[in-house]
Each structure stands twice: as C-alpha cells, then as structure tokens.
Amino acid sequence: MEHYVITFESTHAAITIERALKKTFKITILPTPREISHGCGIAIRFSSEDFESIFQQLQTSPIDKNMFSIYHFLNGNYKEID
C-alpha cells in the first residue's frame, strides 16, 4: 500500500518530529525499514493524503533538513524524495 516514511539522522530528531506531527496527523512509529539502511532506528510512517501538509510542516520545523529523509513507498520500493 502506498505510503511515506521519514527516517532520521538522530533519535532526538525522530522524537521531536513525532511529538510535533502526532498532534495533527495520524502517524505510525516503526523501526526504520530494512530496505532503507540509512538513518537511526526510529522512523515515522504516514499516508499519502497527508503528504502535502506534512511536507509543508517539515519545511518549517526547527529540525534541520539534513537530519531527516522522506521516502515514498510505491510498488514495493522506497524512493527517496529530494
């Protein structure tokens, strides 16, 4: 099923973003998928319908953009979004 996953450079970044996003969005905390070796162990999954809003919020978050990556899961593969 199509969805998005955010991975993080640090656990603190993951927890900070989780705290911010869970107020507004339906998110799922999961271990960073094995297919994405990159990043710390905690990842956040969300559905496609929230992509625009979450993407906007991440741009303005206090967490530096280098601290996380967003992946689009489609047809069984994760593709990183630039």
């Binding site: 993951a14 927890i15 989780e18 799922t28 905390i29 999961l30 271990p31």
Partner: protein, 193 residues
C-alpha cells in the same frame, strides 16, 4: 550391530565421556560395560538428556548399560516458530530511562509483531504497563490487530483500579493474577519488556 565399549576400571567421568562420544556420532545402539553403580546412574542421566533409552543388565559385579536411541518422532524438537510465547509489559514504555523514548520503542515493538505470523499467545500488562492499553493510541491499534490475529490480551484489573483508569481501557480483557500466572505457565517462554 551392537558396539560394546569396555569402561570398567575407568574413573568417574571417563565412562560418561566415552558414552557421549558415541552419542555424538549419532549411533542408534551401543553398550557400555562399567563396574560401579555411580557410573550406571551417571550414564542413565546422560541417556535421559540425550534422548536415548537405557537397559541395565547386571553381570556378576559388572553392569552392561545398553543405549538405544529413542524413535525419531519422540526426538523431534520444536522448531523456534512452533514455540509458544508471551510478552509481559510491566512499564509504560520499553525498559528504564526516558519515558518518551520508551513509549516510541513500545510502539515500534508492537508494530514489528504485527508484521509477522509468529505472534505471542498472550500479551500481559501489569503495573505501569496497563497505561499503554489506555493512552497509547498506536499501541492500542496494534494490539487490536494482534488480538484479531489470535493473541489474548490480559490487563491487570488491580492495576487499572489502582491508577483509576479502568474506564479508559481501550483493548484487552480485565484480568487477575490467576489468569496471568496461568498464561505464563502455559507458554514455552515469557519475554519481559
């Protein structure tokens, strides 16, 4: 053909070591000759732990210990995936330390359980752990999935009552120490988070 090994006159551990060597070679039958009852008892214990049956034949002051490997059906050990297990949650998150991190780890733990068919037979919540069944939305959602997959979720009623959150329970059966202890005894292993 029955292999006969003479272990008479050998000191305490030697007959057992000689028998162990035969067992390790996967032989179906063999006989050890020993000259004292202590050796016989040690060999019986070894046989018992190695899935062999023994027959003892007294021969004057000596003993013949006949080893026969048990039928393969009896020997078949459970595969890891066949073993039953239970998870015990005694805290609001996994482990000691920061509660926010522990809570995220608990979410990830139950998420991971839902990704595989080998789920625990029981998920047991006690003390601070019961709070996860009342306020951790993601954990609750995954517990619902696990419950649909067949896991039995037991939540300590005494604990819900103590924290005054009985009416906030979102998933699981309000349970007691008898049921929780019985669940622990019924499975091959209990994992405490």
């Amino acid at each position: 053909m029955n292999k006969i090994i003479d272990a008479r006159g050998k000191n305490c551990p030697i007959p057992v070591i000689m028998a162990k060597k035969e067992i390790d070679s996967n032989i179906d039958f063999f006989t050890l000759l020993v000259d004292n009852e202590t050796a016989v008892e040690n060999l019986k214990r070894l046989a018992n732990n190695s899935d062999y049956e023994t027959k003892i034949v007294e021969d004057n002051s000596d003993f013949k210990v006949e080893f026969t490997r048990e039928a393969s059906a009896d020997r078949e050990t459970k595969k890891d995936s066949d073993k039953t297990w239970a998870v015990f949650v005694g805290r609001e998150g996994i482990g000691d330390g920061d509660i926010e991190l522990g809570s995220s780890l608990l979410k990830m733990f139950f998420y991971t359980l839902t990704q595989d068919e080998n789920i625990p037979s029981y998920i047991l919540f006690m003390n601070d752990g019961v709070k996860a069944t009342t306020n951790n939305d993601q954990v609750i959602e995954q517990l619902i999935t696990l419950s649909e997959m067949g896991a039995v979720i037991l939540v300590c009623g005494t604990c819900l009552n103590y924290y005054n959150i009985t009416d906030k329970l979102k998933i699981g059966t309000v349970s007691n120490m008898y049921d929780i202890v019985n669940a622990m005894k019924a499975v091959d292993k209990v994992i405490t988070l």
